[in-house]
């Protein structure tokens, strides 16, 4: 047993070292010298979008490429139209960050023009590769954490505007619901709530206040945001305004501003799953370089996430992701 354990440990350590060394040198041969890479982002107001965008821009530049950036101003239509501009600019490749169904015909047009498309958080048949978080893990983990936070029973509301519009949200909210099937004591309040894509915190604050008026004290145990956590900022504000902080809040993304809210004393915001948007954007840029180097890419590249359960983990993850230190 002891020998087996040692051998096993040896293999694991050896394999880890090998993987680490491969990862460390993986980028060395990559270059985007002489390449013009269009980077379309849906918006740069929110931390996640901005960081994914910055990660992609910095990496393309670091690899010697030229960046043609276009920003949708958190408007999916503008974001989709921006791809036309990249097409007329005759870029060598496009990295497209987020976007709804409106981008699909644009991707197709780019592909037909011989411009490879690399997506972030948007699976598309017209893209070479999509870099994203492990959305399956995110959806199930946040479902378990939320159920645990209310003792496995109660009435919960979900903000879920994008389950049908964005595949990543379909996965996250769909798997959250899959987990809920195993908690017969949990009732998901119908109809579901729908948050706005732009100005989400303020929009969610108003909608939560209305929701709380319709659902008096003692009738709601948790509010979950199905795909991201900008609305959760407004939800927490509304709960504090209405004196209803006994209601637990859970969401996904885990940027610095929401981790800070989670780390506050007696915060109703109890669970999250933090992503690494900068690494995601950077990985998408590396994938462009890998493609031009002749490597075959898998359809999806997954970037690790970090589950955050409670204020202490919020502080730890905040530090681990390099956002600073929280007391």
């Amino acid at each position: 047993m002891n020998t087996f354990f040692k051998t096993f440990t040896g293999i694991v350590v050896g394999a880890t070292a090998l993987v680490a060394s491969v990862t460390a040198t993986a980028g060395d041969h990559l270059s985007l010298e002489g390449k013009k890479v269009g980077i379309a982002v849906v918006g740069t107001q929110h931390f996640w979008d901005r960081e994914a965008f910055n990660g992609a821009v910095d990496t393309v530049k670091k690899l010697g490429g030229e960046v043609v950036p276009v920003d949708g101003g958190r408007d999916n239509q503008v974001h989709a139209d921006n791809h036309d501009i990249l097409l007329t600019n005759k870029v060598d490749a496009v990295i497209s960050i987020l976007g709804d169904g409106a981008v699909e015909p644009k991707f197709e047009a780019l592909k037909n023009a011989g411009i490879p498309v690399f997506t972030v958080d948007h699976s598309s048949p017209h893209a070479v590769n999509n870099t994203t978080s492990d959305n399956y893990y995110m959806g199930t983990t946040i479902g378990r954490y939320m159920a645990d936070s209310i003792g496995g029973k109660g009435r919960v509301a979900i903000f879920n505007a994008f389950e049908g519009a964005l595949r990543i949200c379909g996965i996250r909210a769909g798997l959250w619901k899959y987990v809920m099937q195993d908690y017969p004591g949990i009732e998901v309040i119908q109809p579901e709530l729908a948050e706005a894509f732009a100005n989400a915190p303020e929009d969610a604050r108003k909608k939560t206040l209305d929701f709380l008026n319709q659902n008096p004290k003692g009738t709601v145990d948790a509010i979950h945001v199905g795909c991201w956590d900008q609305p959760a900022i407004g939800i927490v504000q509304a709960l504090e305004e209405a004196g209803r902080t006994e209601i637990k809040v859970t969401a996904l993304d885990g940027g610095p501003e929401t981790l800070e809210i989670m780390a506050e004393e007696n915060s109703p915001f109890v669970a999250n799953v933090a992503q690494q948007p900068n690494v995601i954007g950077s990985t998408a840029a590396m994938n462009v370089a890998r493609h031009f180097h002749g490597e075959t890419l898998l359809p999806q590249t997954y970037v690790d996430v970090m589950p955050v359960n409670g204020p202490e983990e919020a502080k730890a993850v905040y530090e681990k992701l390099g956002y600073g230190t929280l007391k």
């Binding site: 999916n76 036309d84 169904g101 409106a102 729908a194 706005a196």
Partner: protein
């Protein structure tokens, strides 16, 4: 003293004339700068892109131009209809919902969408003509209400549309021009003949020029005003088809940017007319130039927030210079 007065009037006149042309001059300078900084803007690909992206704005501008022509171009008291983009987006939502979620055929879906848009126009006409509300406030109110109804219809969610008619409007070309652009051109011509070449159009312009004189010559001012709002809502309804084609579906919130571009384009268009009044051609040209400006700024990498800021400043410049140029003292 009399000479002094005459001189001051004449210099005031020149100053006003110059003020009226200011937006035009600023715009031409901006476009010139963009063409130099981003030469790819002058390729046929880019010009085609500008035309295709300007289609929904052009169509809602047709509606606004009709209302302003009938109501007079005083921005506050004259004719204005802020609800056209909201009507367009409501019609788009109804059509998307019918096509995608209920499997309705294209024509019945379009009829329902047009019906909803026309109801918005009827409400506007009632509020302005019967209740005598200021068009600015009346149409602002209907706009807000219409956006609310759109949210009810869509539950604030996006609805994808892949109906072949919508897809062909988006993708198909005829003689090198997009089908959407050609249909829009046809609409522009229809509106042009209605407003500038028909007896009805003459009456409409007479009402906008001087209501009392129009009334004395036997034109029913109220009826013309009401019809202008209804025609505007028809333009909104028709724009919905292009909104759907452009976005491959309906998305909540798309009325906001459409509203901004419609106002900017229509009043900028006035700067292109010799008498600096809102005209159909001016509005259409304005819509195309505003789109060209948006695309140009993005092509030279101007931050999207600055683009919004510049557009806001341009609206201010256009509206302020129109007010100054037509002020009586």
């Amino acid at each position: 003293m009399a000479t002094l007065n005459a001189n001051s009037q004449s210099s005031a006149f020149n100053w006003r004339a110059l003020t009226g042309y200011l937006p035009f001059i600023v715009f031409i300078l901006m476009l010139g700068y963009l063409a130099v900084s981003a030469p790819q803007l002058l390729t046929t690909d880019s010009l085609d892109l500008i035309l295709r992206q300007s289609v929904p704005t052009v169509v809602v501008c047709l509606g606004l131009a009709v209302v302003v022509i009938a109501g007079g171009d005083d921005v506050v008291a004259g004719g204005i209809d802020l609800s056209i983009p909201a009507a367009a987006v409501l019609a788009a939502a109804i059509m998307a919902d019918q096509l995608t979620n209920h499997g309705t055929a294209f024509l019945p879906a379009l009829s329902m969408a047009m019906g909803a848009a026309v109801i918005v126009g009827l409400v506007n006409a009632f509020l302005v003509v019967k209740v005598a509300m200021t068009p600015l406030l009346a149409t602002l109110a209907t706009s807000v209400a219409t956006v609310g109804i759109t949210k009810v219809v869509t539950s604030s969610r996006r609805i994808n549309v892949d109906h072949p008619t919508i897809v062909s409007l988006r993708d198909n070309e005829l003689g090198g021009l997009s089908v959407g652009v050609l249909l829009t051109l046809l609409l522009v011509l229809i509106f042009y003949f209605a407003v500038h070449r028909s007896k009805w159009g003459m009456s409409l312009q007479a009402v906008g020029g001087n209501r009392d004189a129009a009334e004395l010559s036997g034109i029913s001012v109220n009826r013309m005003l009401a019809q202008s709002f209804i025609l505007a809502s028809v333009a909104g309804g028709l724009a919905s088809v292009f909104v759907l084609a452009r976005g491959s579906g309906s998305s909540p919130g798309s009325e906001e940017s459409l509203l901004l571009e419609m106002i900017l384009a229509t009043f900028l268009g006035a700067a292109f007319s010799p008498r600096r009044v809102v005209t159909l051609w001016g509005a259409v040209l304005g819509a195309v130039l505003v789109t060209a400006l948006s695309i140009g700024f993005k092509s030279i990498g101007v931050n999207v927030f600055w683009t919004g800021c510049i557009k806001g400043a341009l609206i201010l410049l256009v509206v302020a210079s129109a007010a100054l140029a037509t002020s009586k003292d």
